[in-house]
Amino acid sequence: MAQRVGMEVSVAIGEMVRMADADVIAAYPITPQTHIVEHLAELVADGELDAEYIPVESEHSAMSACLGAAAAGARTFTATAGQGLELMHEVLYVASSMRLPVVMTVANRALSAPLSVWSDHSDAMACRDTGWIQIFTENGQEVVDNVLCAFRIAEDAEVLLPVMVHLDGFHLSHVIEPILLPEQGEVSAFLPPNKYPLPLNPEKPVAMGDFGPPFIYTEAKWAQEVNLKKSKETILNVWRQFGDSFRRHYQPVEHYRSDDAKVLLLTMGSFSETAMTAIDSMRSDGKDVGLIRLRLWRPFPFEELRQAVKNAEVLIVLDRALSFGGPAGPVASEIKAALYNQQTRPKIVSFVGGLGGRDITAKGFTEIVNRGIEVAQKGSKDEFEIFGVRE
């Protein structure tokens, strides 16, 4: 039986990677991801995890080493945050384009300048189009569960894509939570050995990441797009099987008191739990509001989102990142695009808030919802509003 233990979420991630029996970990420490890789380095040094730990000189090298390891058929893990994710940027595309099943946790951190180690989603949004499967989580249990699921999804013969598991820096990475850590036997039963179909092998040579002239590039990119979209079937299937085995269930779009709600709030990441408290209090005041949380960011869950908002009149989207000079927060832009051609759709109101570790309290979420309803009724000349800025 799984034990419920009080554990720092970063340490729990390391424990899950140990039970997943990762073969190679290449990582560069960066706040607030540091405790994840520190714990893994300890596990390897203490002989509790039989893996190659590569202490690289930068995140660019970390991801490059991960590519080589995954290409050789190793179960590969890394973690980063903020500027580190940015330094990896070009190699992220190579991992997905070469179909290498690397698993990475990102302890989401705001981007400089001014220098901020605190959490928001600007790092995640900057790598939106890198072709990785991307999952957002809202508490420690979800992170640990989805790290296990991520290995299974990434390495599935139908998928073979890298997976990012996003967790808010500090809000999740550094908190001690009661976490149900499964037994080794349960993990081993759920996660079959990694069998990369065409690994680097001197006996049977292959060439990876070759030159792609104009006559092949379009075909290569379309194959990649079709593959990422199709991966949703496997993701749903893995989450379903995870639910059967561990009794915790995950959906691309999660619902909270949203079924009959005329007003919906949409959040991602750890803010969702505070938002739930706000929804509860508004419900007890007789307000017709609910919450939906976007868990699967890539591939984007079009059908599930459309289904989730079909009865709503107002949809208020909170982004934790700016798209400078753009039409809305990056998440709100995508939600608008996903709903624009629908026969009926809610009015969409876009807010940006919670930047660089700025908290939004339950009271703050209530203010956002009330203001969102007002904007939906009266209209606004602005594409979006920023929440909590001092005038």
């Binding site: 384009s97 070469m98 179909r99 290498l100 073979l160 179909p197 065409l198 040579p205 292959v206 060439a207 990876m208 990441g209 070759d210 792609g212 002239p213 006559f215 092949i216 379009t218 075909e219 290569a220 379309w222 194959a223 079709v226």
Partner: protein, 97 residues
């Protein structure tokens, strides 16, 4: 040999466009890049092979009469052979197309 790479559909690509057949770079028609082609005056040729030695593409071979000649499927028209030929056999001519 299966289909040439420029005939493959997206469904037929190997995962991640991994190349599983060795030597498939030989299918790549680098001759497409050429704007000038080498033209030979073989009566001056002493068959020294300097052009073959200097060709960066490695596409110069001896023909049946023993003269050295570039394979235009690969020749990029760089003109190095014309420059190095000690007896000035080779001149570079503009491609017409």
């Amino acid at each position: 040999m299966a289909k040439r790479e420029n005939e493959l559909t997206w469904r037929e690509l190997e995962i991640g466009v991994i190349a599983t057949e060795p030597g498939n770079a030989s299918q790549y028609r680098t001759g497409d890049w050429r704007s000038q082609k080498p033209v030979y005056l073989f009566e001056r040729c002493i068959k020294c092979g300097m052009c073959q030695l200097f060709c960066p593409e490695g596409c110069v071979q001896q023909n049946a009469e023993g003269y050295f000649e570039a394979d235009l499927y690969y020749c990029k028209g760089c003109g190095i052979c014309a420059r190095e030929c000690p007896t000035m056999v080779i001149t570079m001519e503009e491609e017409k197309e």
